[in-house]
Amino acid sequence: MPAPTANAVTAGTGEPSATGATRAGIHWPRVALYVILGLFCIYYLLPLYVMLVNSLKPLSEITAGGMMALPGEWTIAPWQSAWSTAQVGVEATGLRPYFINSLLMVVPAVAITTVIGALNGYVLTKWRFRGATLVFGLLLFGCFIPFQMVLIPMARMLGLMGIAGTVTGLVFVHMVYGIGFSTLYFRNYYAAFPDELVRAAQIDGAGFFTIFWRILLPSSGPIAVVCIIWLFTNIWNDFLFGASFSDFDSQPMTVALNNLVQSSTGVKEYNVHFAGAIMAALPTLFVYIVAGRYFVRGLMSGSVKG
């Protein structure tokens, strides 16, 4: 299922002339439509606006009831505090170490899971065997289970493997539960890849990996981007695994942000909380803005498959 693109067939029926345009050229239903769409833009942007302006003003302006106003006095102190000095849990380290934890977690987890997904997708489409669809269904179901169902045994298993409470442990957990989706993307993509090319290469004597490396991989760019973005967003934004399987020094960003906001004793520094929230949002937001098309495609094929 491709992402909705502007040049696709349009089912729209709201052509100005069809519903009676006025001669003056102002078409009121059309104006109303734009007003409604504009209001919804405001609705979706409002929380981002609130976070942004309040992260740039002194605390006193927020507590005085000025949440919606632009800062009277602009300051980046809340950002500095959130990044390097705020009290997160027990220590006053700011969010920086946790941001780094999240990076250390997300990069290997995404890389490994994508490679595994590509190989699985290749096997499941070009080397089909009896029960391939069943195996795929079983892999895929693993993405949808409520992870509460695996928390207890996983906690023990990570202990047995000696990686409990470490970033490595989190990488492992995300890899295991990401395989289903990465396989899904590559399988559906490779299914449309002509079998004849693979067969021809095989007749020429190319082996399993040669075919993958020389023939399928070079044309896998788009789906790899989709898969990487999907995994990156999911793993960066994860909270449940981070909260369950990390120690104080291996917590990912989402867990640290929640600690910062929930556990602040004494004065609640709303401006610092907002700055921290934006920091936690920036990487995924950046990816969305740069490669939104691929993000949407990943979302759609994660649900409306085809």
Binding site: T10, L33, L37, L124
Partner: protein, 300 residues
């Protein structure tokens, strides 16, 4: 279709070559076998044991399930899930459908507007929770701001009100996901045969009739997908509740996911926690399994 059929068995090297694809797939199968299905069985087993702070293997039969349904917090969690899930799915679908239809009217800057509607989907539920937590906070958020504008008696303190707090979770969750539902419906709208619409238009059908009779019935698959995705997100929702209300005030916004976590890891009632996880699992399976089944079957 299978290409491996063309390879004939000739000696050990060839046999290895035939096995290679399955060897490549096998680590994934093993991992998922253990960490998904093995763990599901393990948790299922624990739900029938007297496990407290650590797993224990004393069999107690259905006792945990009996306890579970007598715990008031679990009752609250289920009621909240029904309220939250229903409102969340219905509002997201209505809003998503309306926005998709509006955006499908040859709107200028459609791509730009779509980007704005969909960006919350890229955010973590924790970020969304923090933003809405303070935005809805009566001390500094909407209530304080409107009062500051001169409406002294304006009150909006749902997030602190045990009876209303669950609706604040609906508000934040709808904000985050409705744009995504819009995108699903928009993709559905773009797939509708425009010839048929033109024919109906020539026959003199009004725009309303066109949508009611032709367009919306054809969006059935999109509705199905939206329902499955939203229902499954509703049952799993944990992060947003933690960040927004932390299950409070009191236990007013407890949901199954938060219940499971607190009973297992903070109250040391692992058996009961496991049984609540099993109930969540069964609910999701009832939605997902038929969906995956139908999706994968038509593919063959």
């Amino acid at each position: 279709m299978a290409i491996s059929d063309t390879v004939r068995h000739r000696g050990a090297a060839d046999r290895l070559r035939d096995l290679l694809p399955k060897l490549v797939l096998s680590p994934s199968v093993a991992l998922v076998g253990i960490f998904v299905y093995g763990f599901i069985l393990f948790t299922l087993y624990l739900s029938f044991t007297d496990s407290r702070i650590l797993p224990s293997f004393g069999w107690v039969g259905w006792q945990n399930y009996g306890f579970l349904f007598r715990i008031r917090a679990w009752d609250t969690a289920l009621t909240n899930l029904v309220i939250f899930g229903t409102l969340y799915i219905v509002i997201c679908c209505i809003l998503g459908l309306l926005l998709a239809i509006f955006l499908d009217q040859r709107i200028r800057a459609e791509g730009f507007i779509r980007t704005i509607y969909l960006y919350p989907m890229a955010l973590s539920f924790i970020v969304t929770g923090v933003a809405w937590k303070w935005f809805l906070d009566p001390g500094i958020g909407v209530e304080a701001v409107v009062r500051g504008w001169g409406f002294e008696s304006f009150t909006f303190d749902w997030i602190k009100d045990s009876d209303m707090a669950i609706y604040t979770i609906v508000i934040a969750a709808v904000w985050q996901t409705s744009g995504f539902v819009m995108a699903m419906f928009l993709a559905g709208l773009r797939g509708i045969d425009s010839e048929m619409l033109r024919a109906a238009e020539i026959d003199g059908a009004s725009t309303m009739a066109l949508y009611r009779r032709i367009v919306i019935p054809q969006l059935r698959p999109a509705f199905m997908s939206a329902f499955v995705v939203l229902a499954h997100m509703a049952i799993k929702s944990y992060d947003l509740v933690i960040a927004l209300t932390n299950g409070g005030p009191g236990t007013a916004t407890e949901v199954p996911a938060t219940f499971m976590y607190s009973y297992t890891f903070t109250r040391n009632q692992m058996g009961i926690g496991a049984s609540s996880a099993v109930i969540m699992m069964l609910t999701i399976a009832a939605i997902i399994v038929p969906y995956l089944w139908s999706e994968l079957r038509e593919k063959k």
